[in-house]
Amino acid sequence: MNAAAATPAQPEAEAAPYLALLGQMMRIRAFEEQARRLFASGQVPGLLHLCSGQEAMAVGVCSALRPTDVIASNHRGHGHCLAKGADPARLMAEILGCASGYGLGRGGSMHVFDPANGNIGTNGIVGGGIPLAAGAALSAQRRGTDGVAAGFFGDGALNQGLLFEVLNMAAIWRLPVLFVCENNGYGEFTAIETVTAGKSMIARGQVFDIPAEHVDGMDVLAVRAAAERAVARARAGEGPSFIVGTTYRYGGHHAGDAQDYKDKVEAEAWQKKDPIPRLARHLIERGLASAAHIDALGKEVEAAIEEAVKAAKAAAPPTASDLVRHLYA
């Protein structure tokens, strides 16, 4: 259901779905900010890919899904996990390599699985989650449920051959799947234009007769509306959709990326489109929330994330006996 279409008598009730989207985006931003700080102080092992700036994509799409619907995520996946219901304390524990993490601290940021919330994994292989999402859609279809799956990937995955194979099969089998491309302008350290042919990204879906649309990936309401259209088609048996959202990653490819390949002016221009203040302004303009209320929401969310981070930092590391567990089911 489109939140904008609902006009209940109570303003609080009308505001609630918007505030939920706002709170969810704030939560992801606060989480990523904490992760960035922990990384900068040397507490996060390995690689860390943050999604600050891209929150509207994860929140917009996941808000159109049911808890039982499935997502497959990518290496920049903390936002997807949280938007699909992950516990921030367990997520951060996994990022820190602790035993209370989703994978006993043995997967890390790029390998987070939360099937209870329909999340079949962040992924260390660019494009790796795309067939998994389509497979979940095949499973829902063949088992006769009305479940839907969404696969998140970046613009870098647009040039993986795997994507084209899967788009073709999703189309011929009319799989209930959303292909969600988060175009943040860069595949690792390389601008998308320099490695990508073709005038239109959505043409890559259209060539398979898959309904495809561009969306402003900094506008959570626009993302959600596009996702709702796609989900409705999928549930109705009308097959896959392809959504390309234009967005931006503030922190570069990985935490600690100096981003010398970027233009400072460009980064500042994108910050002006930030999805969080944008929705906040929208709510204030429409009289759905006051600035004070939004401020309080932000503080509440930040405090909750701080608590979660505290819990994660206090968590025990895995023991040597955890090394050999779960190799086989």
């Binding site: 497959a72 989703y102 939360d114 292989i125 998994l132 051959g161 084209f164 899967v166």
Partner: protein, 328 residues
Amino acid sequence: MPEARTDSYRGAVRDALALAMRADANVILMGEDIGEAGGVFKQTEGLFAEFGAARVIDTPISESGAFGIAVGAAMTGLRPVFEVMFGDFITLVMDQLVNQAAKVHYMSAGAMRAPLVLRTAVGIGASLGPQHSQSLHAWAAHVPGLKVVLPADPADAKGLMMAAIDDDNPVVFIEDRNLYTLKGPVPEGPYRVPFGQAAVKRPGRDLSVIATGRMVSIALAAAERAAAQGIEAEIVDPRTLVPLDVATLVRSVQKTGRALVVDGGARAFGAGAEIAATLAEEAFDWLDAPVRRLGAADLPVPFNANLESLILPDARGLAQAMIALVRG
């Protein structure tokens, strides 16, 4: 064990698929030409008619994407049996197999699993050339999280396939095209051959021959030749490389004091090397001679039939190796 009838290796696998599909609606088949066409080697003949297009799914020639979809389906409730037409083509599904399916259970701390079977056909001897004749099972066996099965006869083929479909892990099931017409007694109805249980296919006192897949048939024929020279070879078929039944292999070597390992893959860094090294470590005290290892030549498998016939040891060559190992 229920009554047995005579069936071919191909028919036995097909029987296992049909029984598993009747028992569990979540078992589906995916692959190229497996539907109405019934498979390029007729491995799925009749299954499309019985189970329909929803469960016997013809994929485009997109191994990587289609197998990736099978992995995602396995992670979310289905039990796909995915056919890779030629063993060589597992190169095309390696990312989905190695980086996704093999690690899901471990990375998710047991919260997710990928119960699927990748079945594929290998085989030297039909002039199929270097890109259609390789036996790459050692690649799969090298990846923790995968199980690897090489049935050598019809009864094992059926029971191992049923066990593979039951298994909650990704299983690589290697069939040999040369065995498809091999006939043997096959028990009626459903039964499982448990993984990790080697079978002594021929008892003998003078040496242990550990043979895999198609090499079991060749080793059995070679053993008859060696017997004519007074050498009694014990033929042990591991049946599954992962898990490997080290105990049965060691027990055989304890009895015979000699071990010859024969695998159909390229010899260098192959399954035979792993088994030979394991026996050297675990059975050293009982060995009266160094472990001997035979396999395919470390070459691409050539097209020309005369050259191709030189790639694998035949029964005669294998018998000579048996005799040489015993007589020193």
